[in-house]
Amino acid sequence: MLNYLANPARFMRVSGALLPPLTVATVVVLAAGLYLALFVAPPDYQQGESVKIMFVHVPAAWMALLVYLVIAVASAVALVWRHPLAEIAAQAAAPIGAAFTLVCLVTGSLWGRPMWGTWWAWDARMTSVLVLFFLYLGYIALVNAFDDMSRGSRAGSVLALVGVVNLPIIKFSVDWWNTLHQSESVFRMGGPTIDSSMLWPLLVMAVGYLLLFKTLLFIRMRTALNERKARALQLAAPQRRRAAPAALPDGTPVLR
């Protein structure tokens, strides 16, 4: 699989075929998830309707962690096997992950105001997610900080791997420090403690977020590949003008 998709042209073909059904699935599942979350799931006996923020907040938090993991694995693959698409995947995923992290922080803050009476508390979970957000920003800034693009990619890969130490801290912060933020209620030993009437909408939303990530990732990766192609053509253009074929061998006209 790793080698099969290493060919950018093959990746463009496969992702191009997958993209339309993926987009449709994303829209359908997200719409269904939002409907279930907003209209079907019951209001909480303590939190009232504010509990519905949870359906946006929790999957965003999961995705924030998952996307960073994706970036880290892709970076490792890029460093070890010099896989040409892994770097592109990692860089394409970073702004999406940063956006999920921001959504998580903002919705958490909106929920915290009526529930905890404060927009922000310096509890371990929040602080570590904020650090994750800065890790995303640092990664994006580092990748774009070099004139030599491949140098930026490799520096970014090393940084992504260093930042992995933060992931277990975020995951277990609520258990280690036992602070304000609720502890895990879905992925825990002995089964979820959350009621199934809320668990199902939550899981549908999570699947929707996952599909959204895949769709956006494919779009961004395809854009990045096209951009590289365009730049290569631009760089090659002066020489080609000198050689002066009006069209490529397959008949596509050469841009002048």
Binding site: V131, G138, A145, F146, A155, L159, V162, G163
Partner: protein, 221 residues
């Protein structure tokens, strides 16, 4: 072993002879701390409470400011290529350079911190805990900082970029460092905080140089 000592000696000589680089970091450290009583007002009660945090934050910033000294000079004059090509493992060279960086920034900061503690009206046990914390925690700052310094070599704005990268990684050191003084003052005992600080430094000692060396290698190929 001899080559490690030679490298260590060279780093120290460069730091001492290249005019006041240690002094610059120290001066920044002191000035940054002095700004706070002037900014928030000189009430002894408040200064005593926020003093340790301020001193730790200033130490973090001073460490970040001196990071470019680690590799930038060697990168420019080609010394870095020689280090990579030499028989010495690059990870070992990185440890030696980080150690020299610590001796010329972290250690002096810890040595003058008692005076800053006095300026902040801290009592004697708190100052001792602050000093012990700085000694235990600043090696982690140098080791982690080396990663950022190596990653940003040759980038467009290495200074700003390395602070953006490294400050999130410094947060645990800051939390346990400032927390140690607080725990000591409230009677909870600073021992566990200080042990955690030492643990951070010891964990960074073998791990951070691996990342730094990987980052340095990819600047050259």
């Amino acid at each position: 072993m001899l080559q490690y000592l030679g490298l260590f000696r060279r780093e120290l000589l460069l730091a001492f002879r290249q005019g006041g680089e240690i002094g610059l970091a120290l001066g920044f450290f002191v000035l940054a701390v002095v700004l706070f009583p002037l900014g928030v007002g000189p009430e002894a009660e408040m200064l005593r409470r926020i003093g340790p945090g301020i001193i730790w934050v200033a130490a973090l910033l001073a460490a970040v400011l001196s990071l470019d000294r680690l590799f930038a000079g060697d990168h420019l004059d080609g010394g870095l290529d020689l280090l990579v090509l030499s028989a010495m493992p690059l990870e070992g060279a990185v440890i030696v350079k980080s150690a020299a960086h610590w001796v010329t920034t972290g250690l002096p900061l810890a040595v003058i911190s008692p005076f800053l503690g006095l300026l902040m009206d801290m009592d004697k046990p708190s100052i001792l805990i602050l000093m012990a914390g700085l000694v235990a925690g600043t090696p982690a700052l140098s080791l982690l900082g080396a990663i950022a310094a190596a990653l940003t070599l040759g980038s467009r704005r290495p200074g700003v970029l390395s602070s953006l990268i490294v400050l999130p990684l410094y947060l645990p050191v800051l939390i346990f460092g400032a927390g140690a003084v607080e725990a000591g003052a409230t009677g909870a005992g600073a021992r566990s905080h200080l042990l955690l600080l030492g643990a951070l430094s010891l964990a960074a000692l073998p791990l951070a140089p691996l990342a730094t060396a990987a980052a340095l290698r990819q600047t050259l190929d």
